[in-house]
């Protein structure tokens, strides 16, 4: 039996593992990097060891430091979670050599299955249904490859080192590019070619085996909805395959597991083509991010099983005893902005509340800092209901009732997917997001819900302004004995960046509110007709962040957080975020000349201009590397470079001015 477990991970998975360990009476030891010293996962374990560093390479990826942490604190087992060292056979070997139990498959199995080519061979040997692959040796590109085809790296994953090829002419270049990318990302440039299944679905089978040679499957999960080959939404069971295919996949997975004598938890991934063609993708020799949907429909605790199996216990049930009930859907709440190409977002979470009725595996809480150095996953939210559509509704409602403040997230997009007709009809190939760009642009509540939330932001601003009036706070809001116009302000709807002018005039026990541009002077100086609708708005209850707003006779409960620059409104209809535009233009800044700013924290890779350079609209100025992506910063208009504020290698923060451009000459 395991007594003290080292959890070699961070974020939600470390928290989740600690939860099960504690339930089983196992003591837990965590590890943390410098910025994570007060992170939620560190507070979730009994004690934790600092690894130093602030990047994965200098902290959680340090085999020596993590191993020492386990040994020094008297642990008798190590659970690696997923990512980081989870599929590092060498680390597993060292753990075992140090006399500790490794919660995962054997180092040999990790090594074998970690090589996609070797894994594919094993799958073929075991009789797993799959398409053939073409191995590449050196730079020789074979002829007669059926199109379309997929070029993949033998090592690694996450879409890196992968290319879709639609004509033979592109093949050689694709192989070369994929190989280069794989070499740089994984240190191994080996690639292979397999048929590319259009409109396929990603279906994977959960397996777990014990040290006594017994293996079971726990059914399949479908994870087709992906962005950049990274999963966004996962569900169990798959709604897009029939029972025959389901049986084929599960039995195939078991066959492969038995063939290699698989121990502990693993996932066998397949792609199922629209025509039913099945191709084996790979085996993930670890606990998957999306394991909770399997737990929901089977009722098992996969981490518990992992710990028991690692301790040498036999599996506590047989394949026949595994039952499935209902449907589970998991979404990944990530600190990324789907409307901006899933651009990572960083900052401090000032609020982080997820709605009720769902399982939430979270690695962050209010006050947590989301940095660009680690994975953007904030939480996994899982619903479980008798039917798929019920699970979707429950999850959508929980997401809409969530309040995530401080970083941008994908909750609006996730909620939009869950209500989208094709999704509800289970038409979800891996191209789902590409086929449905509208869901990525979802901005949360619409129509009256959005207006009501906007009123919430405006009324909280009004209340704060009145509270700040130290001398005349007793007077009614915006009181006048001779009226000119109501209180005017311009707001930025952070959902779509639009400007929303609003005019508020106190009246009776509430306000008359007009939304939209106020009448401007026409050419002859007279004012344009005022065609704005008047909303009758009342603030019915306001205590702390909680507010009830009545708009035209309809009352809504809202929570409104104002962090000084951003007002965040949430309610049952979802969340909106607003910023009050400055009342006065900053002419000094305008005179100094605007310039492009860093879109997110990262480091400057290269600078392409010098002071005095004439640049054209769209010309490349600076390249910033952030979140493993290269962002090209270009000139928004033609002009002259007056100042370059950064040099290659500099670290930059979101909003940092990179280059000063004088565009006035171009204006003249």
């Amino acid at each position: 039996m395991i007594r003290r477990l080292l959890i070699a991970n961070r974020g939600e998975i470390a928290v989740r593992i600690a939860g099960t360990a504690h339930r089983l009476g196992i003591e837990t030891v965590g590890v943390y990097s410098d910025p994570d010293a007060d992170a939620l996962h560190v507070d979730s374990v009994d004690l934790a060891v600092g690894l130093g560093g602030s990047t994965p390479a200098t902290s959680y990826l340090r085999v020596d430091a993590v191993l020492s942490a386990a040994i020094d604190t008297g642990c008798d087992a190590v659970h690696p979670g997923y990512g980081f060292l989870a599929e590092n056979a060498d680390f597993a070997r060292q753990v075992i050599a140090a006399g500790l139990r490794w919660v995962g498959p054997t180092p040999e199995q990790i090594e074998l299955l970690g090589d996609k080519v070797a894994a594919k061979r094993a799958a073929l040997e075991a009789g797993v249904p799959t398409t053939e692959i073409i191995e590449i040796t050196g730079t020789d590109v074979p002829g007669g490859v059926p199109m379309p085809a997929l070029v993949k790296a033998a090592a690694g994953g996450g879409g890196r080192g992968m290319r879709v090829v639609r004509s033979e002419a592109e093949l050689a270049d694709a192989v070369a590019a994929a190989s280069r990318e794989a070499e740089s990302a994984f240190g191994d440039g080996t690639v292979f070619i397999e048929p590319y299944l259009e409109h396929g679905r990603h279906v994977e089978v959960q397996i777990i085996g014990d040290a006594h040679g017994y293996v079971v499957h726990l059914g399949e999960r479908e994870c087709s909805i992906q962005r950049r080959n990274q999963k966004v939404l996962e569900e169990a069971p798959s709604a897009g395959i029939d029972d025959a295919t389901r049986r084929t996949l599960c039995e195939g997975a078991l066959a492969l597991a038995r063939h290699v004598g698989y121990q502990n938890a693993g996932t066998v991934e397949f792609l199922v083509g629209a025509d039913g063609t099945i191709t084996f993708l790979e085996v993930n020799t670890r606990l998957q991010v999306e394991h909770p949907v399997t737990e929901a429909v089977t009722g098992v605790d996969l981490v518990e099983l992992q710990l028991r199996v690692a301790a040498g216990e036999p599996l506590p049930f047989t394949q026949d005893e595994v039952t499935f009930s209902g449907h589970a859907i998991e979404v990944r709440v990530v600190a990324e902005d789907p409307s901006a190409g899933w651009l990572p977002s960083t900052g401090t979470l000032t609020r982080f509340d997820i709605g009720a009725g769902v399982r939430v595996d979270r690695g962050f809480r209010a006050g947590s800092v989301v940095s660009g150095d680690y994975d953007s996953l904030l939480a996994k939210v899982v619903s479980h209901a008798p039917t798929r559509s019920e699970a979707a509704w429950v999850l959508a409602r929980a997401l809409r009732s969530s309040a995530i403040v401080g970083v941008r997230s994908d909750v609006d997009c996730l909620a939009a997917i869950l209500g989208e007709p094709d999704f509800l009809d289970a038409r979800t190939p891996t191209s789902y997001l590409t086929d449905h760009p509208a869901v990525e642009q979802a901005v949360g509540p619409e129509g009256d819900d959005r207006i009501a939330q906007f009123m919430g932001a405006v009324l909280v601003d009004e209340a704060a302004a009145r509270a700040e009036d130290e001398h005349l706070g007793f007077a009614p809001s915006g009181w006048r004995n001779l009226w000119t116009h109501g209180q005017r302000s311009i707001w930025i709807d952070r959902g779509d960046g639009s400007e929303v002018p609003v005019e508020v005039r106190p009246s009776g026990d509430g306000f008359d509110v007009r939304v939209g541009p106020w009448p401007a002077p026409t050419e002859d100086g007279s004012l344009a007709p005022d065609d704005r609708a008047i909303h009758r708005v009342r603030r019915l209850a306001h205590r702390g962040d909680e507010l009830a707003v009545e708009v035209d006779g309809v009352r809504r409960r809202l929570e409104v957080g104002d962090d000084g620059s951003v007002v965040h409104v949430s309610g049952p209809a979802g969340c909106t975020t607003w910023t009050r535009a400055p009342r006065f233009a900053d002419h000094d800044a305008a005179a100094a000349g605007g310039g492009p700013v860093a879109p997110l924290p990262g480091s400057v890779l290269s600078v392409h201009v010098s002071p005095g350079d004439q640049v054209t609209d769209g010309q490349l100025l600076v390249v910033v590397e952030a979140m493993k992506m290269e962002h090209q910063i270009t000139a928004a208009a033609a002009g002259t470079v007056t100042e370059v504020r950064v040099a290659a290698g500099d670290r930059v923060d979101t909003g940092d001015l990179l280059v000063l451009l004088d565009t006035s000459a171009a204006d003249d």
């Binding site: 601003d461 700040e468 007793f474 809001s477 004995n481 209180q487 100086g525 007279s526 002419h587």
Partner: protein
């Protein structure tokens, strides 16, 4: 503390009838107020906007802090005179960067913002308010100068405006002038005498003599910009401290200036709970008689005016036509002296004593005027009504705590003086629309004149031409009636504005807060008491 209880039946026909009559009086005032922003004519308003300029009140809206109140003073100044209603300027109390300030601005749409005699009088009143209450002054300047055809009534008294600016500065009361347009001749001293100046680029100008006059006087040909433009004054003459890009930029700079003043008030802040009255202040509109000849209970007004309707009455059983007591309004402690009609000796003595008590306690005084005058007649005279009235006037005149006056009905005769009328330098005077003010009621005045005419005729042994005398008496009554209305009074700056009765708490609260900009300290010495 005792809480006032109402005996007013707000569903009674008498109340509702009076309410309707008061509403009618207010509607008349409201219509006048609504006309003020376009008093210069829609054509000139449009022309102003066509030039990309904000109207004066739009500038003020941009200047004050969001959602804060703004109390415009004497908005109907010059009503009933040959000058435009409002006198072509706006004066008011507002909040800029958390600081209560006095804001004034000229209305360029009326004769190019030129000054008329009422403008001068309103400006003098403004300076007095700034001085007495220590309110920083922001002037939004844009004026063609004096209305030349009226120069005889402007030139000599108008000079005080520049003296006032530098005297405010001497007292440490900051003065800020923002130039949006011309400041010509004497007007150039408005920025010249100010502590801080902001000039709007390509808009503001200041010169003693414009290009035509310069050509006439010294035969120099010069354009307006080089003679007195914003750039020149910002870069060369130094008259302008800040060159603003546009109007809103100038307002932004003015706000920054106020911010750096780190201004603090000398008076104490509000010390009492500022809870709403138990009875709805909206009912104030029906509390006072629309026809001031009909008596009403002034305590019904107080019950809807003071915090929590709490009122600690002083000498309730003595001199009961004068109601005195302690209360608070919007958290500011006040001593209140209110009338239920006429003043007798007892009322005069009671008032004189109460004023002294409030001065000892450094408590501001609110006079709620509803007064028909001092009692006359042999009994009153023998009882020493002059001597006792003199005590009241002595106390009022020499009292040094801030006085506020609320006119809720009649203000006739020397009662106006005893109740700190305009001539007694109260910090602020506000009137309800039913207010009447004159040396006596029009009917009495006409009646007195009638008796005098009859006595004179009898003395000369002449026959009375009844018809002619009746016509004369009736005409006089009408004239006095016209000259004693609230609108007539406010037009002549006898008050600081007619307010909606339901706004009284807000207006008095703002006025009290303004008075606390200065020290609140009671008098220790008075004139000789005639006992």
């Amino acid at each position: 503390m005792t809480v006032l209880r109402t005996r007013l039946d707000t569903s009674s026909p008498a109340y509702l009838e009076n309410l309707a009559a008061m509403q009618e009086l207010w509607d008349e005032v409201a219509a006048e107020l609504a006309s003020v922003p376009t008093v210069g004519g829609q054509r000139y308003v449009d022309r102003h906007r066509r030039r990309g300029k904000l109207l004066v009140r739009e500038r003020i809206e941009a200047l004050v802090d969001p959602y804060t109140p703004f109390l415009e003073l004497s908005p109907l100044a010059a009503w009933g005179t040959e000058d435009p209603v409002g006198a072509g300027t706006v004066v008011g109390i507002g909040v800029v960067e958390g600081t209560e300030v006095l804001i004034s601005g000229s209305d360029m749409t009326y004769r190019g913002g030129s000054a008329n005699p009422t403008t001068v009088a309103k400006g003098a009143r403004m300076a007095e308010i700034a001085r007495a209450n220590r309110l920083p002054l922001i002037t939004l300047n844009e004026s063609a100068g004096a209305e030349l055809p009226r120069q005889a009534d402007i030139f000599v008294p108008g000079g005080a405006s520049f003296k006032n600016l530098t005297q405010l500065s001497k007292l440490g009361i900051p003065t800020i002038t923002v130039g949006f347009g011309p400041a010509t001749a004497g007007g150039a001293y408005t920025p010249g005498m100010s502590d801080y100046t902001v000039f709007v680029k390509e808009r503001a100008t200041a010169y003693l003599g414009g290009p035509p006059l310069v050509k006439m006087a010294i035969d120099e040909e010069v354009d307006e910009e080089s003679l007195g433009g914003a750039e020149m004054h910002s870069r060369t003459s130094g008259l302008s401290d800040h060159l603003a890009v546009d109007e809103l930029d100038a307002i932004r700079i003015a706000r920054d200036i106020v911010k750096h003043l780190r201004w603090s008030k000398l008076g104490p802040g509000p010390t009492e709970p500022a809870d709403a009255p138990r009875y709805d202040p909206a009912e104030l509109l029906g509390c006072a008689s629309a026809d001031v000849r009909i008596p009403f209970e002034v305590r019904e007004i107080l019950a809807r005016l003071v915090d929590g309707s709490r009122f600690e009455e002083f000498k309730p059983l003595y001199g009961d036509k004068m109601v005195c007591g302690w209360a608070s309004i919007c958290g500011f402690p006040v001593g209140i002296i209110a009338n239920n009609g006429i003043l007798f000796s007892e009322e005069s003595n009671k008032g004189a004593q109460f004023i002294q008590l409030c001065n000892k306690a450094h408590t501001p005084l609110l006079f709620v005027q509803n007064i028909t005058g001092f009692m006359v007649g042999s009994k009153a005279e023998q009882g020493g009504i002059i001597r006792n009235g003199a005590k009241l006037i002595n106390a009022v005149s020499n009292s040094e705590v801030p006085h506020l006056v609320l006119m809720v009905g009649a203000s006739y005769g020397a009662g106006n003086y005893g109740m700190s009328g305009r001539a007694y330098d109260p910090r602020f005077v506000f009137s309800w629309p039913n207010h009447r003010i004159a040396v006596m009621g029009p009917k009495q005045l006409a009646g007195v004149m009638d008796i005098i005419a009859r006595n004179a005729a009898a003395g000369r042994g002449q026959e009375i031409d009844e018809e002619a005398l009746n016509a004369q008496t009736s005409a006089l009554e009408h004239l006095v009636e016209e000259q004693s209305t609230a609108l007539y009074a406010t037009g002549r700056l006898w008050d600081d504005g007619i307010i909606h009765p339901a706004d009284s708490r807000t207006v008095l609260g703002m006025a009290l807060s303004a008075t606390h900009g200065n020290e609140v300290r009671g008098a220790t010495e008075y004139g000789v008491w005639r006992h």
